[in-house]
Amino acid sequence: MSKKHEMARRIPIIVCFVFGLFMLVQFFVPHRLSGAAYETVLDWMQIVFVFTLLVGAISYAKLNVKKVSRTESGWGYNAIGLVGLAVMVILGLWKGTGEETPFLWMFNNVQAPMQSTMFALLAFFVASAAYRGFRARSWEAGLLLVVAIVVMLGRVPLGSFISHWIPDAANWILRTPSMAAKRGIYIGIGLGTISTSLRIILGIERTYLGGK
């Protein structure tokens, strides 16, 4: 490996170590200087993000232009995507993004309803996933089915109409065994996070640089 390449890999590891250690120490130091340094780092992150957003937008535009120019399969969707990107940029720069602007109108009347539509699909997907997931093929699946029925009934007025035990049972299931399982997973995730973070800070894990 050439010296240049070696340096190109070593510098990010050193930077990662220094900043990782700084953020760790900063958590324990309440002094004003520590807080100011932390805010500065957050500002740097925002600046980096803005530049990478530009890179992302250019990448998006390049890819879609290529597909449209080659009239690849589905190029119409790419064209619509490009038109949408251009329209929003032009509207934002021309009339601003504040109240009563065409940009905000487009967002509220085009973007937001489309997002809500996608969110609404979730209801149907939950039903289809539940249908597949709750088939009682084994005793565990049967138990899951019974518990799911109790919890679903406990969450609607019908459950308390049938019996006052149903909402109580539903709440107990959510507060006790379900919460216990969740907390167990959280503990595992927490420890995994600590371990992964430490490996990255110390340079043991370098995959984000592209491997060893």
């Binding site: 760790l24 958590f27 324990f28 890179v55 998006y60 890819l63 996933a129 043991i204």
Partner: protein, 387 residues
Amino acid sequence: MKNLQPFAGTYMLRPKLATFCLVFFLLTSTVSAAGLPVKLNAVDTPNDKGESITLTIEGLPQEASEVEYELLRSAVEDNSFQVVEGWSVKDTVFVDDNVENGVEYLYVLKGTEDQDVQFSAVVGPVISRGQWFNTERTNVLLGVAICFLFILGFVLYARRGKKFYVRPIAGLQAVDNAIGRATEMGKPILYSSGLGKMDRVATMASMNILASVAEKTAEYNTPLIFPNYDPVVMATAQEVVFEAYSKAGHPEAFNPDNIFFVTQSQFGYAAAVNGIMTRQLPATNLFFGTFEAEALILAETGNSVGALQIAGTDSTIQLSFFIVACDYTLIGEELFVASGYLTKDPQILGSIKGQDFLKALVVLLILIGGIAGILGWNWFVKLFSIG
């Protein structure tokens, strides 16, 4: 010759200091005897960045009274007392955050009933300063130190050649089969790291898995499509995949157009990925990272196109959806051990072993905590409170 006495130079100040203290004590004693029967105490607020003084007031009337109370503050230099805004008679503990660091302040409580005005003893001078260590987080520091010791200890143990066993994880074992399936079917592999930004550890873990997946897709010449929610993740992913392709000996096969930015809108991203799935019909979907409400939309659409799906996330809510809709799911920390599991790197496996021992310690502390709770040992529970 150096004067090595610790208080050298202050010798002559001692009698003056004593006199001042005596006069001050007499004065305050006299005032308190005839003044408000309240005890006022002011200290620099501990464990903060400064610009804050905490006052405790004892002896204020519990019920409504005709006395109107005001808390007054003066900088020693100014010698003029001003009313402290925000304090009311119900506040027996009050944080005055309208002060400057390094300035000496005096406090006094004023009580007014009709024309009669009384004062409490003057408290101070007190100086607000920022602290360099938050003592309320000492237990967190100890916990972090223990974690570091365990993980680093096992990493060093692994460096000496010790081999560690990691139990089989079905989801990770299936990654190879999933890639092989896509190769045989001549269809692409779809990879998604969800909505996480690069500062999330789950996204970093996803990049680790991506490297292994990309190396295999390079060997098998299987297209890898990776739509991104975050441009920083996109940039990182392009680098990771390119290096993986280079490592596999096929840098020319790397197509940067396959790793692209889509949108930073949650459901816009879901719609885009769904569109890719329905048009390009991937044989394998790999979802590793941070997912939110769009998780089930992605997984169900993938299921509808007949893709083999392997998922892993740090969100417990979305985990349940993935378990139902996907063929294999990495639960909790399995996502974070993936890099060691797939690469068989001894140091990473060592850190995983350290993690396991930490988990055992956590279980032990939970058991002791349960017993402590039953026995009423509140001091044990307080050991784990965080300031």
